[in-house]
């Protein structure tokens, strides 16, 4: 399944991550929005419907885990994938309990990210 035409929101405080994810997803024909903070991410989420959200955990103004219930309450449809360098069992379990649909541990290869996003785009 191609990501073409899908609306994807990337929320990550790492400039590098935002840049290469933007380049990668734009290349697939998806509509990509990149945000740095939890506040910016929430605003973008409320403003525009997204099919997929790639969410970092450690954001400058909040923890990504705290955004999950807000996202789900706002709109349960988008698939939210957590992507973080923290991948201890407790963190992953908490993320799923809070409503995450998938977990993409960092660092990841471009192909791994695409594979996962495409998988959930199909499901969606």
């Amino acid at each position: 399944m191609s990501l073409k035409g899908h609306h994807i929101l990337v929320i990550d405080d790492s400039r590098l991550m935002r840049r290469f994810m933007h380049a990668l997803l734009e290349g697939t024909g998806a509509y990509v929005e990149v945000m740095r903070t939890a506040e910016e991410g929430m605003a973008a989420f409320e403003k525009q419907h997204h099919d997929l959200v790639l969410l970092d955990l450690k954001l400058p103004d909040n923890d990504g885990v705290n955004l999950l219930p807000l996202f789900k309450r706002e709109s349960p449809e988008p698939v939210v994938i957590i992507s973080s360098v923290r991948h201890d069992p407790r963190t992953i379990e908490t993320a799923f309990l809070c409503g995450a649909d998938a977990y993409l541990p960092k660092p990841f290869m471009a192909s791994e990210a695409l594979q996962m996003l495409e998988k959930y785009a199909v499901r969606h």
């Binding site: 790492s14 400039r15 590098l16 290869m109 192909s111 990210a113």
Partner: protein
């Protein structure tokens, strides 16, 4: 509070690390607890106490034993030990349960024993249990003294001391008699007869002295004896205890009456004065004990204060003996630092410690000792020994002996309190340290993985998209990856640097350097990093040299310039202002014109991994650069501080204490 013995140990316990103390209600079982805790701390394992609860045993019936045991268990729990009760119908059954329960987990088992080194219950079942325990764990015997011994205290004066008072009363009468004889020898017989009434006054004086100095009974004795001697030697018929005339009978009756009254009132006055003195001293001592308990910061401070105050109030020499941690059944002097005891005193001290009873001066045990030793017993058991020695003018009387026993008990409670506080504090610090370590590890791991994630992501996107993206975009991806790799390299270098600095493995090579030249060299090297930022350098005087490690000095300047770059926009200005400051040495101020340091972060800006959140992780620091500056400077006797400039921007000032004007030939 007590927990039942685990039925089976978890299978995961493969390494034996636990230290167990087998305790009972012995007053010195607390020594086993300390020994177990010490061994566990040395080996890094856990520790606990085990109590075999035999139903219907003497210990189970005795209230004092139960109370002591309960206190011991509470203490062990508060000190971080595990408390286990092994209920059993018989001691043999209990020992079997002990062996089975700890077969897999115990590395060392501490058991109390007689002073001669053998287990205090020498029966076959004990020997068998010790043999079985020795098969899988180290069994340590700690001598405890006789288990049957009860804490005893001897109240009051020894009989000999009381007898001495009567002897002194007799002596005072003898002195009066000698004086009378002297008077008789000096005066003509006629004159002596006229002065006969004065002779009676001599005996009266002896009576008053004995009553005033040694109390009512010795006073009465002196009075009666004086009357007898006066009658026998100086009242006709001489050489007989008899009176012949009414006048003489009246004189004798008046003499005895007056002597009785004097003895009574003087004795009473003495007793009242003594009672108020005792009361005052007791109040002073109790108040002092209370104050010491509430104001001292450490056990040593408390004991030193107690020793000084007790010496002042009671006019006694005071010493405290406590068991050293490594050898819990021995005693060593705690306060004062040094004390020499005679052989008798040494024996009395050991008897006091072993048998838990008052010994030495004023007691039947080692009565000839110069010191008196009182056991210090807290609720959890025996803590140590307090020793007192009366100064020459003071006698150790009943009230003082009682007061001493009270002081010993109160001191034991104070010591126990400090032991407990110290242990709890140590546990809290250990937990805090562990938490901090875990947080640092998590922070470092995050900081190492984030740039790696960026590098791997950028490069993999570069490869996977290939020609699908513009050359410009691909170039950007490569630049990003390279920059992130450099950041990662700097982070790892910083971690290694701070680790080496903290472990003292950095060898400083100080020499005289011109700071101006070093700063210029660093600025030149950092042109790429400055990205359009300009630096103004004010050297602060010509031909000045600073005594420092040149390479590490460069690193300080580099870190500070790098820090300024991180927190200011491109194209802004940085100033470096050097000057010689009175009392501080050669100082450099590095100022930027950014947003400054948030007020709540100023105090922690040099802490490891402290970072001020920046707009983007890309430019945020590793949180180690400033810590390195501080460590390097402090190791060379210098210092660094951070503040915000009144007109905006952060100012970092660092100083080296040693500087000089360059030698003339070098300038040339």
């Amino acid at each position: 509070m007590l927990q039942s013995a685990p039925q089976a140990l978890p299978a995961s316990v493969s390494e034996r690390t636990m230290v167990i103390a087998l305790v009972d209600a012995h007053p010195k079982s607390i020594l086993l607890l300390h020994a177990a805790r010490k061994r566990a701390r040395d080996t890094g394992g856990s520790w606990g106490i085990v109590y075999i609860d035999v139903a219907d045993s003497a210990e189970a019936r005795d209230e004092a034993s139960k109370g002591r045991l309960l206190r011991l268990c509470t203490l062990a729990e508060q000190m971080g030990g595990q408390v286990t009760q092994l209920p059993a119908p018989t001691m043999q059954e209990g020992l079997n349960r002990l062996v089975n329960t700890y077969r897999e987990s115990a590395a060392c088992i501490v058991i109390g024993s007689h002073a001669d080194g053998k287990r205090h219950r020498r029966s076959r079942i004990w020997q068998q249990a010790i043999d079985q325990l020795s098969a899988f764990a180290r069994v340590e015997m700690v001598p405890l003294g006789s288990p049957s011994v009860k804490i005893t205290r001897e109240w009051g004066m020894h009989g000999a001391q009381r007898a001495r008072h009567f002897v002194y009363a007799l002596a005072s009468v003898a002195v009066a008699m000698l004086a009378a004889q002297q008077l008789e020898a000096m005066l003509p017989p006629a004159l002596f007869k006229v002065n006969m009434q004065n002779v009676s006054l001599l005996f009266m004086t002896a009576c008053a002295f004995a009553a005033g100095r040694y109390g009512l009974l010795p006073g009465l004795l002196a009075g009666v004896l004086g009357a007898g001697i006066y009658n026998y030697y100086y009242v006709p018929p001489l050489g007989m205890l008899r009176v012949e005339t009414v006048t003489e009978a009246l004189n004798m009756a008046l003499f005895i009456f007056a002597a009785g009254l004097i003895a009574l009132f003087t004795g009473k006055a003495r007793s009242t004065s003594e009672r108020s003195l005792r009361s005052e001293r007791t109040t002073q001592v109790l108040f002092m004990l209370y104050r010491t308990a509430s104001s001292a910061f450490s056990r040593q401070e408390a004991l030193t204060t107690l020793q000084k105050k007790l010496t002042d109030i009671l006019d006694l020499d005071v010493a405290f003996f406590l068991p050293p941690i490594m050898r819990p059944n021995e005693l060593e002097i705690a306060v004062p630092e040094e004390l020499t005891l005679s052989e008798t005193d040494e024996q009395a001290l050991q008897t006091c410690w072993q048998d838990m009873k008052a010994t030495g001066l004023g007691t039947p045990t080692h009565a000839h000792a110069e010191w008196r030793f009182e056991p210090m017993v807290a609720q959890s058991g025996m803590i140590g020994v307090i020793a007192v020695k009366p100064r020459s003018s003071v006698q150790l009387e009943i009230w003082m002996a009682r007061l001493l026993a009270g002081i010993a008990d109160q001191t034991a409670l104070i010591i126990e309190h400090f032991e407990l506080t110290r242990t709890m504090e140590a546990t809290r610090i250990r937990e805090e340290r562990e938490k901090l370590r875990s947080m640092l590890l998590s922070s470092v791991s995050h900081d190492l993985k984030t740039p790696l994630a960026g590098i791997i992501g950028s490069l993999s996107v570069h490869r996977s998209l290939g020609a699908k993206v513009s050359a410009e975009k691909r170039e950007e991806l490569l630049d990003d990856a390279l920059e992130e790799a450099q950041r990662l390299d700097s982070f790892i270098t910083n971690i290694l640097d701070i680790t080496r600095l903290e472990s003292g493995k950095v060898e400083f090579r100080p020499d005289w350097f011109e700071m101006h030249g070093i700063i210029l060299h660093v600025i030149k090297r950092m042109q790429h990093r400055l990205k359009g930022r300009t630096i103004t350098l004010m050297p602060g005087g010509e031909h000045l040299e600073v005594y420092m490690d040149g390479l590490l000095g460069e690193q300080i300047i580099q870190n500070l310039i790098d820090n300024a770059c991180k927190y200011t926009p491109e194209g802004t200005h940085i100033t470096i202002n050097c000057s010689v400051r009175d009392g501080k040495g050669f100082c450099c101020e590095v100022r930027d014109f950014g947003d400054g340091i948030p007020a709540d972060k100023l105090a922690s800006v040099f802490d490891k991994y402290a970072r001020i959140e920046k707009e983007d992780m890309q430019v945020a620091g590793t949180g180690l650069g400033l810590s390195i500056c501080k460590a390097v400077l402090e190791a060379q006797g210098g210092w660094i501080s951070a503040e915000n400039h009144p007109q905006g921007g952060a100012v970092f000032t660092f100083c080296y204490p040693k500087w000089r004007v360059m030698q003339a030939e070098e300038v040339a």
